[in-house]
Symmetry: C2
Subunit: 147 residues, 2 copies
DNA sequence: ATCAAATCGGACACGAATGTCCGAATTGAG
DNA sequence: CTCAATTCGGACATTCGTGTCCGATTTGAT
């Protein structure tokens, strides 16, 4: 469904958002150990999301990642998913046909439309802010994280 | 969403079903050229579906693949999808957590449940028989098939 | 000014899904 | 019986997403 990079991206952003109130940015080391994903890999994904304008990074001592205040309650899972797995999810044909469209529909094109829209809407409606401390705690429970 | 093997499996089964009325089984060569997937690869996928009891194969001259009459109007996309991508679709956590469950839900476990069920129901409700000649023709249109 | 702490970026390594090859086994036609 | 047509099965090759390494760059503290 979602690629690992995308899954890790979501977990990382949740982790960064969780620490948004602190004055200090969160370092890669902290994020990666919290979500149990290798540091270098986490780094790559966060770099990509920074470039996409999702959050900011700061080099040097006391540097790290942080989310701007104006974006804090705007960010949804879709922002992340769209950046990393977007093209495939939005436009990919269920059966993998190259040019599946309203003009040249695959056998289940029309039926699948609403399913795909459900999924996208689900991501669009899930704001990082809405994920409460309680909902998020399983993410950082070492016994259950990672695949 | 679906693996290529799964997508090819669906296309192949649609192709075999389309020829079900003929007395003669359909050969791998015929199927693979129709759906524009390499012969050896198609073969591997169809072997797997035969083992899963979805259809039958017959070796030797005039051999090939065919669907038993008693199954012709029973087969759904879910039979195929479940066999090839099933575990992941049915039980996989959106965020990739190892043990995401009602007991240890990930941050979006409960919200995602109905999305996943929608998808499964869509496959369950799509019978091979329901895919009419007209719906299916784009599948075999060389200009638009394959990825 | 220097140095340590951090991100950045590119090249490389690994692993799993995808795809290929070829010989073995089976079957029916002649 | 023999042979050609076909599926079967295992080993191999390729590709691509995943993950690693390391040096370059930036930044702030002292």
């Amino acid at each position: 469904m979602l690629s690992k990079s995308c899954q890790h991206g979501i977990k990382a952003m949740i982790c960064i958002k969780k620490n948004a109130q602190k004055s200090k940015p969160v370092s890669i080391g902290e994020v990666s150990s919290k979500i149990n994903v290798p540091e270098a890999y986490t780094s790559k994904i966060l770099q990509r999301l920074v470039k996409a304008g999702m959050h900011k990074s700061k080099k040097g001592v006391n540097g790290g990642f942080y989310i701007e205040n104006r974006l804090l309650d705007k960010l949804t899972l879709w922002h992340i998913v769209n950046e990393i797995d977007g093209v495939n999810l939005k436009y990919g044909c269920v059966l993998g046909l190259d040019d599946c469209s309203n003009q040249h529909p695959c056998p289940v094109h029309n039926e699948y439309k609403s399913i795909r829209q459900n999924l996208i809407t689900f991501f669009e409606n899930t704001y990082l802010t809405d994920l409460t401390e309680n909902m998020v705690k399983s993410l950082f429970d070492k016994a259950y994280v990672n695949k």
